[in-house]
C-alpha cells in the first residue's frame, strides 16, 4: 500500500499494478451487499482518500457523510467536482483536513462560505484547487487505468502554478503545449443514486456529473440509494444502469439521502433549511457550526430523526418540486 503517509491523493499517482491488485482482491461476485448506514462507515478508514459523488447541492451523499462524521472518521482527503455545505461539515467536524475540488462554498446564492474561509485561511485545513474539467479528467484517467490525461485548460493561469503535481509537456505529434493532470483513484467513493439492486447495479436519473468515472476509479464504492429495487427490475432496463455491480462494495437504502441537498426527480434542495444553515454558520463559523452540528449531526438518533428536524412540510415541498421536473 502506498498510503504510508495516509495522503496519496494529490501528491502522487498510484502505482498501476497496485491498483490492479486491489481490484483482484475485491469480491466481484453478484452478491447481496446491503448494509445499514452505520455498518457502511466501516468501509472508510481514518486517513483515506474519499471521492464524493454529485456536484454542489445535487445528489450529494449527505447521509453517508453525516454517518462518517458521527463515526468519528479523521484526516480524510476528500475530492469532488464542486463542493457545497458538505465541505463545511467535513472541515468543521475535522473528519477531513484536505479538500481537492474546483469550487468550494455553500452555493452561489450565498457568497463565500465563512466556514471554508475560517478553516483554509487559518491553515487548519487545505483546499487544493483544480479547474472543473481537470477534476473530471483526473477521475477519467483513474477510471481508464492511466496515470494522467492531457488537457488544454489551466495553462498560463495561477491555478496551474499552485499545482506543481500537474506537468506541462509538448505534444509529441504537434509540439503544442499540454497540461498533464494526474489520475485520481480514491480509496473509497461515496455515491448517492435514485435506485439500485442489492448487488449494486445502480441507475442514475438526470445529471450524472462525474459519478461514473469516480465509481470506476475508486478502490471501493459505497452506494446510498433512495430505493433498493429487485435485480429483475434492473434487468428490464439495463441501458439505465450507470454503475455496474462489480464496482460496488456496499449498498445502503437511505430515502432523502441527499437532504438538505437535492436528488434529481425526487426532491429539490431544502432551501429554507439551507438558508437558516448559511445564516447561522456565516454569522459565526465556529460557534454557529458547533450549534448546527450538535442539533443536526450529533443530536439525532437516526437519519430519519434528522429528516424530522428538517420538517415534514419542507420535505414534502422539496419532493413536489423534485417530481415536477417530469411535468410537461
Amino acid at each position: 500500500m502506498a498510503e504510508t503517509e495516509g495522503k496519496p491523493v494529490g501528491t502522487a499517482v498510484r502505482s498501476y499494478m497496485e491498483l490492479r491488485e486491489e481490484l483482484l482482491r475485491r469480491d466481484r461476485s453478484l452478491r447481496d451487499k446491503v448494509v445499514s448506514l452505520e455498518e457502511a462507515t466501516s468501509f472508510v478508514r481514518d486517513g483515506d482518500s474519499v471521492g464524493i459523488g454529485g456536484s454542489t447541492m445535487s445528489r450529494t451523499p449527505m447521509g453517508m457523510i453525516w454517518a462518517l462524521i458521527r463515526a468519528g472518521r479523521k484526516r480524510l482527503t476528500c475530492s469532488r467536482s464542486i463542493v457545497s455545505s458538505d465541505g463545511d461539515l467535513l472541515f468543521a467536524s475535522a473528519a477531513c483536513d484536505h479538500m481537492v475540488t474546483s469550487w468550494f462554498s455553500q452555493g452561489i446564492l450565498w457568497g463565500v462560505s465563512k466556514v471554508m474561509r475560517h478553516h483554509v485561511e487559518s491553515g487548519k485545513a487545505r483546499y487544493d484547487e483544480w479547474s472543473h474539467m481537470a477534476m473530471g479528467m483526473r477521475f477519467r484517467a483513474g477510471a481508464m487505468g492511466l496515470p494522467f490525461m492531457p488537457i488544454r485548460s489551466m495553462l498560463g493561469s495561477d491555478v496551474r502554478k499552485q499545482r506543481p503535481e500537474a506537468i506541462e509537456m509538448a505534444c509529441p505529434f504537434t509540439g503544442e503545449k499540454l497540461l498533464l493532470v494526474p489520475a485520481l483513484n480514491p480509496d473509497v467513493a461515496l455515491i448517492h443514486v435514485q435506485r439500485c439492486d442489492p448487488y449494486g447495479n445502480a441507475q442514475i436519473d438526470g445529471l450524472q456529473f462525474m459519478d461514473i468515472d469516480l465509481a470506476m476509479a475508486a478502490t471501493k464504492v459505497i452506494l446510498t440509494t433512495e430505493r433498493i429495487v429487485s435485480n429483475d427490475q434492473i434487468r428490464r432496463a439495463p441501458d439505465q444502469t450507470k454503475i455496474p455491480f462489480f464496482a460496488v462494495d456496499a449498498v445502503v437504502e437511505l430515502p432523502f439521502g441527499c437532504a438538505p441537498h437535492e436528488c434529481y426527480g425526487v426532491y429539490e434542495p431544502m432551501l429554507r433549511h439551507m438558508e437558516d444553515y448559511v445564516a447561522l454558520v456565516n454569522d459565526d463559523p465556529v460557534k454557529g457550526m458547533q450549534q448546527y452540528m450538535e442539533r443536526y449531526v450529533y443530536g439525532p438518533k437516526s437519519w430519519s430523526e434528522f429528516l424530522a428536524l428538517i420538517g415534514i412540510e419542507e420535505l414534502l415541498e422539496a419532493a413536489r418540486a423534485g417530481e415536477s421536473i417530469y411535468d410537461a
Binding site: 454542489t56 468550494f104 445529471l207
Partner: protein, 256 residues
C-alpha cells in the same frame, strides 16, 4: 447615479450582457447574471441560442421564476435537449463547439484576467474565495463575455491571482502560454461596455452606459482607461427587456 433610472444596476448589467449574444450561438453560461442574460437573449431575440451548463446540460430552457440555484441543479435540465456528464460538457469547450463563454467575476484586470480564488497573497490569503469551478476551462477554451458590477476594488491593474485567463500579460502572452483559442471578448458592467485593443490586448471602453461620464468611469476603475476612438453611448434598457427580465427573475434572486 442609477437611482434616477427605472432599473437596478444588476438589471442593466443583465440586459447589456444579453445584447452581446447573437442568434445561433452556443453559449456556455455560469449561474446568476450570465444564465439570466443568456435566457433573456434566448426569449427576446435569439430563439436558436443554445445554452450549455457545466452541470451537464445542452440546450437549457429555464422556466420563468424557477431559476436554478446553481448550474448543477435539476432545474437546469428543464426542456433541455440533452443531459450528459460534467466532464463531457466541459470537453465540448475543448473540442471547439462553444461560441461564447459567459461568466461573472470577483476581480478583473486590464487584460481581462479574472480572479475568483484569493484576495491578497495566495500563500497567506486575506480571503479564500470559492475558486474556479468551470471558469478557468471556459476562459481558457472559448471567447468570453464577463458580466460584473463595476467597483474600483474589482477593476484592478493586476489581479491578485489569475483564476480564469484573459490575455494574461497582454500582447501574445496568452497564446505563448499554450492557450491557442479564445480570449476575453467583452466585459460588461453597470457603468460601461469594454472590448480589447487587438495588439496590446488591453481593455478599452467601447460605450458608456446612460448617464455615465468618462471621469466617473475612470474614478471607479483601478487602472488608466483607454477609450475607443468610436466611443458610443449604450442604449438604455427597453420596456420589453425590463418586463421580460422581471418575469424571469420575479424574486430578484440575481437582479435585486
Amino acid at each position: 447615479m442609477l437611482k434616477k433610472h427605472n432599473y437596478t444596476g444588476a438589471e442593466l448589467l443583465t440586459i447589456l450582457s444579453a445584447r452581446q449574444l447573437t442568434d445561433g450561438q452556443v453559449v456556455f453560461a455560469g449561474v446568476g447574471i450570465p444564465l439570466l442574460a443568456a435566457t433573456l437573449a434566448q426569449r427576446l431575440r435569439c430563439p436558436g441560442l443554445t445554452i450549455l451548463f457545466e452541470g451537464g446540460v445542452i440546450g437549457a430552457f429555464i422556466e420563468p421564476g424557477k431559476l436554478p440555484p446553481s448550474t448543477n441543479d435539476q432545474r437546469c435540465t428543464k426542456r433541455a435537449n440533452m443531459v450528459l456528464g460534467s466532464a463531457e460538457v466541459l470537453l465540448l469547450l475543448q473540442r471547439g463547439y462553444v461560441d461564447v463563454g459567459f461568466m461573472g467575476g470577483a476581480q478583473v484586470d486590464q487584460y481581462g484576467n479574472l480572479n475568483s480564488s484569493f484576495i491578497g497573497d495566495p500563500a497567506r490569503p486575506k480571503t479564500r474565495l470559492p475558486g474556479t469551478g468551470g471558469g478557468n476551462d471556459i476562459a481558457s477554451l472559448a471567447q468570453m463575455i464577463v458580466a460584473m458590477k463595476h467597483e474600483k476594488r474589482r477593476f484592478v491593474e493586476h489581479v491578485d491571482f489569475i483564476t480564469s485567463p484573459g490575455y494574461l500579460h497582454g500582447g501574445d502572452t496568452r497564446r505563448a502560454s499554450g492557450l491557442l483559442a479564445g480570449g476575453t471578448f467583452r466585459v460588461v458592467t453597470d457603468l460601461a461596455v469594454f472590448g480589447f485593443e487587438p495588439d496590446k490586448r488591453r481593455m478599452q471602453v467601447l460605450s458608456l452606459n446612460p448617464g455615465v461620464a468618462r471621469e466617473e468611469l475612470q474614478d471607479n476603475t483601478g487602472f488608466a482607461l483607454d477609450f475607443s476612438p468610436h466611443l458610443g453611448v449604450t442604449e438604455p434598457p427597453t420596456d420589453q427587456e425590463l418586463e421580460l427580465l422581471r418575469e424571469l427573475d420575479p424574486d430578484r434572486l440575481y437582479t435585486g
